[in-house]
């Protein structure tokens, strides 16, 4: 079957847009062809700096014929209905319709037969539509043309079944012609098919396939390095970008002045990558950067690339000279200076949340709260907080924002700060991604937690929470990072209190920024209340999912707002934990069952989930769950019928009314298991708690086998329902079993 080749030839398309453009082109083409009655099985695409194209094999020469019957109005229907039918069926007069009889009478039927249109004609029609509506991230006009394209479009090469197809879009014409490499082969080239296009362009020093260009770059780069006993620092993102900057990759190894190797390695690597698009090279023995780089040119130079390599080396030296100037300037002063602090006071963290230095001060307060739960030296921690953002106003971070933290650490080390303090400056941003290291040194841990908690609390305070896919301040990442640090270091936090304090600080600063006056610090009120009974009650209530803002002490408007936002933030953090546990393969219903208890200690929650998971995998556990479900169902049914109320459920089991041996045995087992389970929960030995509960399994099974709960004798019945209520309570000490699925 015939083949379609389409190539849109333009001035240089930004590298980052090419891959996506291939996908969009294939999608739009597929949709339009389908709408025209053609369904290509597969659309292959290609792109380079100057071209975007596609090839479809096996496209029929014309679209399928259309044969359809269109039912019209009854014979004798009003003229208006008949006219409408003629119009919709495309008939000139009603004589062209047939009359068909059925049970209800005679009606008109139009037989529509349309020959399928020629594919070339369809392509002529849809390509201009696609070109005009192409979803480039940014497009432009050029000269006097009305056409919008990513950069000026010069030609459309369209060949169908070996023939050129004439297409015109706003003055840009088509032909079987394209052009090769800008400098090596500037003459027009005529192509007859997709294979011809690939091979003629290859002859004209253009490789249209991205994958081929990437493969060649990588092979050449590795070979160049290997020949000198070096090793390429591979970089997939850079490879993708570089392959979008060349049509004919020629890889060259350049020399870097070895004197620059005393700059921080990251500075060199970033200079190479972001500014120059070079690959870094290292010494395989030491794993340290070697004084070389790999650049990918777009030309086979007459001198074998000597001038290009030398030129690039000079440009890199100029760049690194700049970096060295910055680094030398930065090194002259200690990391913390009053001048740097004053600069941080001028940088806006967020319009409603004050400056970066305001954030530093809030973080310092929070590290004080966190040190109630993590043992870290107070002075060292406060020092680390003061230093934590100072590198943001260094020259080098101004030039390379990606190096925030790393430059701060290096400057701290140079100026003799404590090692733990220096490490915390770099690590407080961690973990930045799923594969990133989680801080474990005490000062780093406290600072990293405080920094994240502050961002979360503040943005919660001003209602800038993540919504759907929009998360401009990366708060999900902060929350997940927070949870990971807590779990990895087994830190026991009173999270309900901490989230409320963090939100309280956010509310205070936003009030300050808005009114210009210093407001009473709401967080301080919370801190001072933290030890009181009212606050303990509040925390307990807060952690219940159905809780409402508490009465009494926390009734005032602002305090209510803080508490309700704090609770919302706590729920958000709990959600991150759920996601984390689910990712580890923990059953989501078990997670829910433990969350329903309203605990705010993430470490304890995980311990409960793990114990529960292990318990339910045992036979005792599975059977006890079945017993629980049965008990709960009976109680629920009685409650629904109004025959059992919460008031009645608070009574004690009357030992004298235990008639059957099986119910005596259950009561006996409960009276031992319940205190044992509670005591184990108290000392957080959840495995022991489960074990205590597992002693209930046999008595519960026997109870349901031998004892009729709904006895005729009201007293017996009441006593038995009480027994089941106690059973339900006993299990609730470790989890809300009603949330657990299965039996």
């Amino acid at each position: 079957m015939p083949q379609l080749l389409l190539e849109l030839f333009s001035e240089e398309i930004p590298a980052r847009m090419q891959k996506r453009a291939e996908e969009d082109f294939a999608k739009l083409m597929g949709e339009k062809l389908k709408a025209a009655g053609l369904e290509p099985e597969r659309i292959n695409t290609f792109s380079s700096p100057r071209r975007l194209g596609l090839v479809i094999e096996d496209l029929p020469a014309k679209a399928a014929d259309v044969n359809e019957e269109k039912k019209g109005p009854r014979v004798g229907a009003p003229d208006q209905a008949v006219q409408g039918f003629l119009k919709s069926a495309g008939l000139a007069s009603i004589d062209q319709a047939q009359i068909v009889e059925d049970k209800k009478g005679a009606f008109y039927v139009a037989k529509i037969e349309r020959a399928g249109r020629a594919t070339a004609e369809i392509v002529q029609e849809i390509v201009p539509e696609i070109v005009r509506a192409f979803p480039w991230p940014k497009s432009m006009r050029s000269g006097v043309s009305d056409l919008q394209w990513v950069r000026p479009l010069h030609n459309i090469c369209c060949v169908f079944d070996g023939e050129g197809v004439a297409i015109a879009v706003e003055g840009v014409g088509s032909a079987r012609v394209t052009w090769g490499h800008r400098f090596h082969a500037p003459e027009p080239i005529e192509v007859r098919s997709a294979a011809d296009h690939v091979s003629r362009l290859r002859g004209a020093k253009v490789l249209i396939e991205r994958e081929e260009r990437k493969r060649i770059i990588l092979e050449q780069a590795k070979a160049l390095c290997a020949a000198k006993g070096l090793e390429l620092v591979e970089d997939i993102g850079l490879l993708e970008e570089v392959c979008g900057l060349v049509e004919w990759p020629v890889t060259l190894l350049g020399d870097m002045d070895a004197g620059f190797l005393d700059l921080p390695g990251e500075v060199i690597r970033l200079s190479m990558r972001t500014h120059q698009k070079y690959f870094a090279v290292r010494d395989p023995k030491t794993q340290k950067l070697a004084p070389h780089f790999v650049t990918v040119a777009n030309v086979e130079a007459k001198d074998g690339g000597k001038a290009i390599a030398a030129g690039n080396a000079r440009v890199l030296s100029a760049r690194l000279n700049d970096a060295r100037f910055f680094w030398d300037t930065d090194k002259k002063t200690p990391l913390y200076t009053d001048e740097r602090r004053d600069k941080l006071k001028k940088i806006v963290f967020h319009q409603k949340l004050g400056s970066v230095w305001d954030k530093v001060e809030r973080v310092k307060e929070l590290t004080g709260d966190l040190r109630n739960f993590v043992h870290a030296d107070g002075n060292a921690t406060r020092r680390a907080v003061d230093l934590s953002k100072c590198d943001l106003v260094t020259e080098l971070v101004g030039e390379f924002p990606e190096l925030q933290g790393q430059i701060g650490r290096q400057l701290a080390v140079i100026h003799g700060e404590d090692a733990g303090v220096a490490a915390a400056i770099e690590d407080h941003y961690r973990p930045v991604g799923p594969s990133d290291r989680v801080p474990s040194e005490p000062i780093s841990v406290v600072l990293a937690l405080a920094d994240k908690l502050d961002s979360l609390g503040c943005f919660w305070a001003i209602d800038e929470k993540p919504t759907g896919s929009a998360d401009p301040y990366a708060l999900r990442r902060s929350a997940l990072g927070f949870v990971r640090i807590v779990l990895a270091n087994s830190i026991r936090l009173r999270l309900a209190l901490l989230t409320a304090i963090a939100v309280g600080q956010g509310v205070s600063i936003s009030a300050q920024v808005q009114s210009g006056a210093l407001q009473k610090k709401m967080a301080d009120a919370l801190r001072s209340a933290a030890g009181t009974a009212a606050f303990q009650d509040y925390v307990r209530e807060l952690t219940r999912t159905d809780a409402r803002p508490s009465d009494g002490k926390f009734e005032r408007q602002t305090e209510r707002e803080i508490l309700s936002k704090g609770r919302d933030l706590l729920a958000f953090l709990a959600d991150r934990l759920k996601v984390q546990l689910r990712d580890q393969g923990k059953r989501h219903d078990l997670v829910d069952a433990v969350f329903a208890l309203g605990d705010d200690d993430l470490v304890r929650i995980v311990a409960r989930v793990e114990a529960l998971d292990a318990f339910l995998k045992t036979e005792d556990g599975a059977n006890l769950l079945a017993g629980y479900k049965r008990a709960a169902n009976i109680l629920a049914a009685e409650e629904k019928k109004g025959k059992w109320s919460a008031d009645e459920a608070t009574g004690d089991v009357d030992a004298s009314k235990l008639a059957e041996p099986a119910e005596k045995a259950l009561a006996d087992a409960l009276s031992k298991a319940l205190p044992a389970a509670r005591a184990a929960v108290e000392r957080e030995d959840f495995a022991a708690a489960m074990k205590a509960l597992s002693t209930l399994r046999a008595p519960v099974d026997a109870f349901f086998e031998k004892v009729l709960v709904n006895a005729d004798d009201a007293a017996l019945r009441k006593n038995r329902l009480l027994l089941l209520t106690r059973l339900r309570d006993a299990l609730s000490a470790v989890a809300d079993f009603s949330k657990i699925e299965g039996s």
């Binding site: 950069r151 000026p152 777009n298 700049d322």
Partner: protein, 294 residues
Amino acid sequence: MAPDKAPRCFQDVILTLQTYWAEQGCAILQPYDEQVGAGTLHPATTLRALGPKHWRAAYVQPSRRPKDGRYGENPNRLQHYYQFQVILKPNPPDLQQLYLNSLVRIGIDPLLHDIRFVEDDWENPTVGAWGLGWEVWCDGMEVSQYTYFQQVGGLDVRPVSGELTYGLERLAMYVFGVDRVYDLPFNDPDSATPLTYGDIFLENERQQSRFNFELSDPEQNLRWFNDAEATAKRLLGEGAVLPAFDYTLKASHLFNLLDARGVVSPTERQSFIARVRDLAKGCASAWEKLETAQ
């Protein structure tokens, strides 16, 4: 394609580019006599890009960036340097080729060097202008900015102009293999009085850097900024667009001087930029009306 006589000094590069673009039908203008931060701000580009009339011009423009001063100590950075500016309106379809030919003329052989068009969308928020294009790389060195103007003064431009900016010092340093700008030969190195770029500009960089960072008077400059703004508005009210534009340029440069002294906070910065942009927009729309009416 090889040039008859390859340039040997800084001024040869300028003369060669002027001759080349004159051959392409450009009016060769002289620098604008206001202090500006970039060649684009010359009315021959900013204003002439607006309206329906065709236009071709090329010129050298001294550009002042007070913040970039390095007291003559940095081999690459200058607070006063030269740009060579070309504007073709509408841009001819073969503008890229015309541009590449100009590089050949100053001695850059595209089969010996690696010339690349790398995405770089140009924007000048103080005059509400933006366009799409590239920075042009020669062996990894940015030698020009190439832009298709889309908006100026917040107005869509039709037809579209192609704008080329050559960073002359950088380009010359590259062509002559010089690592320190002050070592560039300015005139013919074999002439009776050979002069380097440093002979002409080193002392200027030292003194002007001192002025920009230490001696300028922020309070006075703030007053002058307010006065320049008020005058530009008054002139716009009188329909005197070109004088109003001069005062807009003065305001823009005064803002740069204030910025160099570090007395502009990030929030104020936005408001200063917005004030200059409002003036530029006023000039742009008044100029466009004038051009369209004629």
